[in-house]
Point group: C2
Amino acid sequence: MAPYRIALIPGDGIGITVTQAALAVAGKALPGRLETVTFPWSCDFYLQTGQMMPQDGIETLRGFDAIYLGAVGWPEKVPDSVSLHGLLLPIRKAFVQYANIRPHRLLPGVEGPLRKGGFDILCIRENTEGEYSGAGGRVHQGTKDEVAVETAIFTRAGVERILRFGFEQARKRSGKLASVTKSNAQKYSMVFWDEVTKEVAADYPDVTVSHYHIDAIAARMVMDPQSLDVVVASNLFGDILTDLGAAIQGGLGFAASANINPDRTAPSMFEPVHGSAPDIAHLGIANPLAAIWSAAMMLEHLGEPEAASRIMAAMETTTARGIGTVPGRDKTDDITHAVLAALD
Amino acid sequence: MAPYRIALIPGDGIGITVTQAALAVAGKALPGRLETVTFPWSCDFYLQTGQMMPQDGIETLRGFDAIYLGAVGWPEKVPDSVSLHGLLLPIRKAFVQYANIRPHRLLPGVEGPLRKGGFDILCIRENTEGEYSGAGGRVHQGTKDEVAVETAIFTRAGVERILRFGFEQARKRSGKLASVTKSNAQKYSMVFWDEVTKEVAADYPDVTVSHYHIDAIAARMVMDPQSLDVVVASNLFGDILTDLGAAIQGGLGFAASANINPDRTAPSMFEPVHGSAPDIAHLGIANPLAAIWSAAMMLEHLGEPEAASRIMAAMETTTARGIGTVPGRDKTDDITHAVLAALD
Ligand SMILES: CC(C)[C@H](C(=O)O)[C@@H](O)C(=O)O
Ligand SMILES: CC(C)[C@H](C(=O)O)[C@@H](O)C(=O)O
């Protein structure tokens, strides 16, 4: 069989380290079946070229079966607003990766900050519009009269497709879906989201829908995460909830993410939830598990569920042995080798 | 001395119960010095009159020394987007209560959901503009081409004053301030906020500023809340962080809030962070401690710090005895009586 062609964008900081780890594991799970091409697009690339990726970057990526990205951003070199709008965010939008899927549960052996474990949450984040539309402006810049506006744009197509995707996932799991808005304060965008949720729900009578405001569900993720299953949220609310999900699952070092184009009209992209962490970039202690988990999601998406399951099992063997379970304690390489060994 | 004139808006659901409790405690702490006038503005009022408050509601409130509000909203009766935009939000804006102050710490005897306690966070939330500006609209409503937009509006005056307020608080506490944005994704509003933070910081060389993205600080509130002290955030981000703060302090039943007009050009408003909780409204188990704590903040603001301290001490005596420490276990009346008794 022809190998899968993967575009690797290691990015910045620990993105580079964890990408190596993740691809080593994925390569061992699917020997000889992954062909990778590495793109050095990053903040350093920006400093050299004035762009986060070449003009034809999107077209270059389009031909691949999947994209694997480490992490982007290094605020001391390039403002985050430039680096993210120059690389990560345009890929999500251009390839209509409208479903950002992020699983939150405790790996065996991981304690997490909450007294009570036993949760299993799947966050489905809208990934192409909403509060990340990039629409806005500033007037009277630098003066006392300055005003800045930022407009969230929600389309029916955009809201409906992510909700349908969420309902499908809920159907496959417990049949429970939580829809997240802030319709008591944002009376245009979020009331609209609530309305579309009700309409789509009519097509899924077997799914029980709960409506939460973002503040209430954020509290719930800490107080009672066991009560949640599939959570569908807008781009910004999903961003916040998935960092919270990462926190309750023990830290950003465990949180995986898949930016999916469900219609497969363009490549999907896989990346850990964590950032580039410049402060620990040279210490060799980045936890590669989030990245490895994201690679498993990639293999699953490519149609290799068996290899994906073997990676998950190897990760669980590793953490059950107490390796990689405490943030900052174990070396990246030691954790990676333990996962590789568990794959044998 | 002339009594303080307090406008009471019990509102809906448990708002009514906890307002009674809070005012009983405040009245005992400052005997004969609180004169209250009660306004029945609520969702029931809306069902009768078609308005959440009378046309001249704001003008009526303007003459008071302070406003005490229980909780507003009962979605089965009136959509939240109507009830909140008809009562709570216009009061905050009309009276320029631009600083919403919310303290988060564990009362003695309260366990909280986190393994590790020992945090003491003061959230300062912008309360009059930003993501709650109420600007937006919808086109092609009800059709497949519908688009909804919601515009966050940030003014220099609005951003600067809340940051200055935050820096003043930081100066009085540990000298540490966390400023919260999402400038990697929202390149107009949040980059603006970051810039103003840097400018204002120049006037406070004794305060150490950290910049966090909302997702990262949400995770931090769960992973390492001990590392935070004064947190300044926009209207929406402050809303989310303070529900999270409530969660880590043991639940919404403990989270107090003061909507302050620092220039004292209009009355300030005090309210617990929790909502009206229709589901438990008739059970008599609402925790009144958040409401009582909010009343203590009111007395402090009115210039009665000694009475405020006595209320805080009485609350702490109560929870140290194990009363009111577990959500839903004790009766509202029992908790209130314990606090009243501890005031003797
Ligand atoms: C880096 C940033 C722009 C990004 C986001 O907000 O989407 C990240 O936080 C994430 O969750 O993938
Ligand atoms: C009820 C709602 C509009 C309100 C808000 O979002 O400000 C509440 O959540 C709060 O925190 O006071």
